[in-house]
Subunit: 248 residues, 2 copies
């Protein structure tokens, strides 16, 4: 019963040959952002605790389970998305490793404890919540994409509170928010260590960034090789395919 | 007499077919950094005032003269480098457009006036001046490369003071200083608008960055397409050659 699909839902493959994910085109589907974040983030391999904030339908948490044996907690505020994530965990037989919680990330430090996690990932809403008319008409998508329930500052403050000294916080976001991200990371003692820029095609400006900071880390930022998504024919580049399917 | 070469000096071509530059391998030679900065920076085309700080032997100022009719002031603290720059200006018959001044950039706002320039470029010393033993043995190179006479904060504070409201400040630096650069730019009201990362070869971390801010600008950062310098054969990439020689 747990895995019964609602009318608009379907089961898709999730990049890794052994992973499947429940999603709904009209409610929420995982995107490239989630896949890239799950590859970019540092994770403890054998043991430890990982938390994924703004989990959506659980793509990042599911993908991280293929890179780490650590326990993974996913936090999502939307009941419908949480329900999909929870059923996907069962579908993949990952209930021992992944726990999906329905809650507001702002309550997470009080709930899980300060300094609890070794690593944290987050694919937060990208757009500042300024004007109501700008919001996506679909409420589920609006909450996932706009800072309705949590601001960028909330995400970074809470992330810093949740990880241990030396713990890592990895996030995917838009380049035009980089200055805010760096300012909040500095304010909340997450020192940026790794930055990677994603370009939709050759000759275009970056449209996505991956950034990882260390709680109370020393300043030493590395800018990883750029990743271009599509080649001139509109197909995935070899580099992107390697990130997706191989050599991981 | 002005153009007489000292024993260790020579005249080299400076990228542009019409430009020559006096340099000395044992004292100072222009580098890729200067060329990239001179291409990256916004300049007023027909009129206005440009200033180039930490001018070295004048490569940036000379190259900017091919993109702009504005008056260009170059400021260099080392007498020997300033002498080369001055003689190169004469050699290229650019004395009407370019003025090379021997002085400390920290004195520049008082000397030229606050809010005087439309655009500013700077290829500052890259390395923090911490331990004397780390300094290059050659005094000229040491001053050019280490923050002996001016710190990164000096450079950014002075830059902000020299440009008008809405004026542009472009700098070339190392990626591991990005966090400091952004923090000082924010502190001194230079809003980052354009960032470009330079990678030595495919698959390598970035080893150079170009950044441009606008005095009292609104937050809106664009991350330009990445530039890779060498191909797998160790030769300049087509993109770099285009930047060097064509389509400008």
């Amino acid at each position: 019963m747990e895995n019964q699909l609602l009318p608009d839902e379907r089961i898709d493959f999730l990049v890794h040959p052994e992973l499947k994910i429940i999603q709904s085109p009209s409610v929420f589907s995982f995107s490239l952002d989630a896949v890239l974040l799950s590859r970019f983030a540092w994770v403890p391999i054998q043991k430890g605790k990982i938390i994924d904030l703004c989990s959506g339908n659980g793509a990042v948490a599911l993908l991280l389970s293929k890179r780490s044996k650590a326990h993974i907690t996913g936090v999502e505020i939307q009941e419908r998305l949480h329900s999909m994530a929870k059923r996907s965990v069962v579908l993949n037989d990952l209930s021992q490793q992944i726990q999906m919680d329905l809650s507001d990330i702002k309550d997470a430090p009080a709930h899980y404890g300060y300094g609890t996690f070794d690593a944290l990932t987050c694919n937060p809403p990208y757009f500042a919540s300024v004007h109501d008319e700008d919001h996506n008409q679909n409420e589920h998508l609006a909450i996932a994409r706009h800072e309705i329930h949590c601001s960028l500052e909330d995400v970074i403050r809470v992330s810093s509170q949740l990880v241990k000294q030396g713990g890592k916080v990895a996030m995917v976001h838009r380049p035009n928010r980089l200055m805010e991200i760096l300012a909040f990371m500095r304010q909340y003692k997450l020192e940026p260590k790794k930055l990677q820029l994603i370009y939709p095609k050759s000759g275009s400006e970056a449209n996505m960034l991956l950034i990882e900071g260390m709680k109370h880390g020393k300043p030493d930022l590395h800018i990883l090789p750029p990743l271009t998504v599509y080649d001139d024919k509109g197909e995935y580049t070899a580099a992107l395919k390697r990130m997706f399917y191989g050599e991981q």
